[in-house]
Symmetry: C2
Subunit: 217 residues, 2 copies
C-alpha cells in the first residue's frame, strides 16, 4: 500500500512539474509577443502564433493524464480536489498562451507598421515585463506552494491593472491624437495583457486555496 | 447494484439540469445587458451586475456537487469524463455571465449617456439577439445531446464573428466620426459579446465530443 501511495505521489509531482513547465512556456511566449509587438517583428510574431499549438497540445496531454490518474487511483477527497484544481490551472495557463497568441496576431495584422506608437513603447515594455514576471512567479507558487508568494501575485496584478488604466487614460487624453485604429488595437492588446495576468492570479489563488483551505481577497 | 447505478444516473441528470438552468440564466443576463446598454438603463445594468454573483454561487455549488459525486461514486472512465466535462461547461457558463456583467459595467460607466451611438443601435440589437439565441440553443444541446444542434451553435457563432468584424469595420470607416472613447467602449463591448458566444460554442463542442467521441471542425 505504501508503495502504491508513493507511486501516486510521484504522479501528482509529475502533474505539478508539467504545470510549472507550462508556466515557463507561457512566460516566454508573452515575452516574445511583447518583443514582436514593439519591434514589429513578423517572424517572432509567427513563432508565437505557431508555438501556441504546442501549449494546447501539452495541456491536452496533461489533462488526459490527470483524468487517467483519477480513474485509476480513485483518490481520496483531498487528492481529488488537488487533481481537479490542476485541471483548472492547466486551463488558465493555456489561456495565457492564447493571450500571447492574440497579441502576436495584432502585430502580424499591422506589419510592416508597428501597432504601438513610439511614445507608448515604454508603457508596453513595462506591461510586458509585469506580465512575464507574474507568469514566472506563478510557476514558483505552483512549485513551492508558498502562500506569501501567491498573495504577491495578486499585488503584481494590481500593478498590471494600474498600467492598463493608465493606458486607457492616455488613449483618451485630449493631448493624444491617436486615431481610432490605434485605439482599437491598443484596447484589445491592453485587454489581452490584463487577462493574461488575471489567469495567473487565478492559478495563484487556486494554490493558496489548496494549501490553506481558504480564499484570500 | 442496479439501484445504486440508478441513483448515480439521477445525480448525473441533476448535474445536467443545473447546467441547463445556468444556460437559461446567462441567456436572460445577456438579454438584459443588451437592453440596458441600448436604453442606457442604469437600474437594469445594476441588476445584471448583481445577478452575476448568483451565477457564480450556483456554479460553485454545482462544482462542489460534481466533485462530491466523483469522490463518492468512483465512476468508471466514461462517467468520469462526463463529470469532468460538466465542470468545464459550468466554467464556460459562468464566464458567459461575466461577459454580461462586463457589458453592464460599461453601461453604468457611461450613464446617463448611452455607450452606443444611435446609428449603431440596430447592430447591437442583432448582436444581442444572436448572443441570447446561442445561449438558449446551447442549453437545448446540453438537455437533448443533439449533435446536429451542437454544430448549429458553431454556425450561429460564425454569424456573431461576422457581426463583430462588421462592427470594427464601421468604427474604422472614414465616414464614421466616432471619437476614441466610443471606439474603446465598443471594441470592448464587441469583444465581450464575441467571447460570450465562444464560450457557448465551447459548451456545444464538449457535448458533441461526449456523444460522439470526436471533435467537429
Amino acid at each position: 500500500m505504501a508503495l502504491i501511495r508513493s507511486a501516486f505521489q510521484d504522479e501528482l509531482d509529475g502533474v505539478s512539474r508539467t504545470l510549472v513547465e507550462l508556466s515557463k512556456t507561457v512566460a516566454e511566449l508573452i515575452n516574445d509577443s511583447t518583443k514582436a509587438l514593439l519591434g514589429a517583428d513578423l517572424q517572432l510574431a509567427e513563432e508565437v502564433i505557431s508555438s501556441d499549438d504546442a501549449v494546447d497540445e501539452k495541456q491536452h496531454e496533461l489533462d488526459a493524464r490527470i483524468i487517467d490518474i483519477i480513474a485509476r487511483q480513485q483518490p481520496v477527497a483531498s487528492d481529488l480536489r488537488a487533481l481537479i484544481t490542476a485541471l483548472r490551472m492547466s486551463a488558465d495557463l493555456e489561456r495565457m498562451g492564447d493571450m500571447a497568441h492574440h497579441i502576436a496576431k495584432i502585430t502580424r495584422l499591422r506589419y510592416p507598421n508597428c501597432a504601438v506608437p513610439a511614445e507608448l513603447t515604454k508603457t508596453f515594455i513595462e506591461i510586458g515585463r509585469v506580465a512575464e514576471a507574474i507568469a514566472l512567479k506563478t510557476g514558483a507558487v505552483i512549485e513551492t506552494r508558498n502562500t506569501d508568494m501567491a498573495i504577491e501575485v495578486e499585488k503584481d496584478d494590481d500593478a498590471m491593472d494600474q498600467l492598463h488604466r493608465d493606458l486607457i487614460s492616455t488613449l483618451l487624453s485630449k493631448e493624444s491624437s491617436y486615431g481610432v485604429e490605434t485605439a482599437i488595437d491598443l484596447t484589445l492588446v491592453g485587454r489581452y495583457y490584463e487577462r493574461y495576468a488575471d489567469h495567473a492570479v487565478s492559478v495563484a489563488r487556486r494554490v493558496y486555496f489548496l494549501v490553506t483551505g481558504e480564499y484570500f481577497d
